[in-house]
């Protein structure tokens, strides 16, 4: 008995030693904690005291918004309009309040967001997702980091944790972070500290209406090696798998490319950067990259409507003093959109000005209940 206990104790000691060694190896192999597994559970959020909303009685309103890490229209260095790197906590909270005000005005049931900081020096370490679930009616969320590092030793960025999220009135489950391919046109050191993009997939069980699967993505913007195309294809593969399984799915996000039928494809007036690292000004090579999504799924803005008036659906501009000049943000479904519900919230015509809140305008559409 005694020797069995000794063996057990010895085994425990060895396991403990191995655990310590494993932790040290992990520190040594990924010293700044930037890596991810190919597939891993997403981080779930719930507002304090949250209770699920009652069963929906109207079409589901889906909102998609790249919120630019709560940076509003401060002139950041990467926009080449200014030199800002870090925000104060007061600035972040003021910008988040503007975003929350718009969200409350649109009153969505589900929201996809991109560029949300949860623990980053540039946004004063404010957990923006926790703040949003507490200050909107979307009390549940799933988060997938896309840019995580204990310290990014470039441009004074420092500690970073930024990513994409799905927010909902109802609890989310099966929330999974699926890694996307890394850019291949960077040296190993830059790639190590650069964004590690992902698809975020989750399920929401709609009371009385069954399951709805949600897929969020923010594809590459600046790569010259076809990474963006691989990201779009991977995003569609996730939607296709759910569609093939007979599930109802809505996918959306910032795809960083232009819709079919766009007339202006390059040379945008607000591009002032000369550093190629931050220039995304010519979308001519992207022609046809969204054809698969447009042919299999319903876009929130029908192609004919978009072709009739591109500008009505522009959702991005680099310069907050200018006007929206391209559409980069999308929603797709294998269900049915309420006809005419697809909107890009560009200004007061849809409730309030959004230009000061982010470099992207929010987009929304209403999904017929299953």
């Amino acid at each position: 008995m005694s020797s069995a206990a000794d063996r057990q104790s010895h085994t425990l000691r060895r396991l403990r030693s191995l655990a310590v060694l494993g932790a040290l190896c992990a520190c040594a192999c990924d010293p700044f904690g930037t890596g991810f597994d190919d597939s891993e559970p997403a981080t779930l959020y719930a507002a304090p005291g949250a209770t699920p909303a009652p069963a929906p009685t109207r079409p589901l309103r889906i909102l998609d918004w790249n919120i630019k890490f709560g940076g509003g229209r401060l002139d950041f260095f990467f926009d080449c309009f200014g030199d800002r790197v870090l925000m104060s906590r007061a600035e972040v909270l003021a910008n988040l309040e503007g975003i929350a005000r718009k969200v409350r005005q649109v009153d969505p049931d589900v929201m996809f967001i991109q560029e949300v900081d949860v623990n980053a020096k540039r946004s004063a370490f404010v957990d923006q997702l926790a703040w949003l679930v507490a200050h909107t009616d979307l009390h549940y969320a799933a988060y997938a980091s896309q840019w995580r590092a204990d310290f990014v030793p470039s441009d004074g960025l420092g500690p970073m944790d930024d990513g994409i999220a799905i927010l909902s009135r109802w609890p989310l489950d099966h929330a999974t972070r699926l890694a996307l391919p890394l850019r291949t046109d960077q040296d190993a050191l830059t790639q190590y500290f650069y964004l590690h993009r992902a698809v975020l997939r989750a399920r929401v069980q709609l009371p009385g209406h069954g399951d709805l699967w949600l897929v969020n993505v923010h594809t590459d913007a600046y790569g010259q090696d076809g990474t963006k195309r691989r990201h779009i294809e991977r995003f569609q593969e996730e939607m296709d798998a759910l569609d093939d399984a007979g599930e109802l799915v809505v996918g959306g996000g910032d795809l960083n490319t232009l819709p079919p039928g766009t007339t202006k494809l390059f040379d945008f007036p607000d591009t002032v950067c000369t550093n190629e690292d931050f220039v995304a000004d010519d979308y001519r090579p992207d022609a046809g990259w969204l054809d698969g999504l447009y042919s299999r799924y319903s876009p929130f803005v029908p192609t004919a409507d978009y072709a009739a008036d591109n500008a009505e659906y522009f959702s991005h501009s680099v310069d907050g003093r200018g006007s929206w000049n391209r559409e980069l943000d999308y929603l797709f479904t294998n269900g049915t959109w309420v006809p005419g519900s697809g909107v890009v919230h560009q200004d007061e015509r849809t409730g309030m000005a959004t230009m000061p809140l982010s470099d992207h305008a929010p987009s929304s559409a209403e999904l017929e209940l299953p």
Partner: protein
Amino acid sequence: MNRANLLPRWLVGLLLSLCIVGVVSAAHADEFTSEQAPAPAAAVPAAEAPTARAWSDGSAIPVPAGRVDFGLFQPLRWGVSEDVELAAQPLLEPIFPNVEARVRWLHRGAFSIATWHRLTYPTRLLQTVSREGTLGLLPANTNVPIALGLDTSFLVTVASAADRTRGTFEVGVSLMPRLSAGDPVVLDFPFLYSRFAALSTSGTTYAGLAGTTLLSDKFTLAADARVTLIPVVSRGWMLEQGASITWTPSAHFGLSLGYRVAHGRYPVGVRTHLMPTLDVMFGF
């Protein structure tokens, strides 16, 4: 309110005085040691001391008088006298002017008590890493204040018979009083954070234990651990631990291999970082 303004002036004065004492002590080394440092009863005669003990080890025992040693990543240390050692990081001087002094105040048998003082000018280094692009550890638009770095620690070392093992306890304080206005500067890069945190706080305090033991005449094992209290964040702290094995085939050449681990509460949260260490050392 700028927390740096809360820095007690008396503490700055005391630290500065101690730094000056260290340097002045070095300047009057012979006079000082003849008055204050009686020959230790149990000291190992220099001629019989193991080769490895010729090298500085961060204890209260200064490098032997007249000796100079340095490493690629270690300061150049000069034994001014039996009880006073001066040191500096020559490679860093252009961007991080620094000078340090170790003064042994008491040497009785196996016990040595010393103080260590360092005076630095961190502003230029912080300005250097405030840049766009790679190695921009701080934003390029940071207005780095002019500041002085003042470090003082109190060291107690106990040596075993024949000086084969040394154990050292240290307790100290770091201040970086600002001499001009500037932005809050938090350099939260691993291993640098605790060393520059005093600039954005009223100061940091630390305590630690270190030990060295001779594995043989040519191999020395060293280990140390230090806890630093860093009031940049509420209840901020940092535990830094390291160990190394040093091979010193002679009093003129050495090779050291080891690691350092930093585990502590940064503004971003509790993090752990590991760093291998390698140094080539020379002495004469």
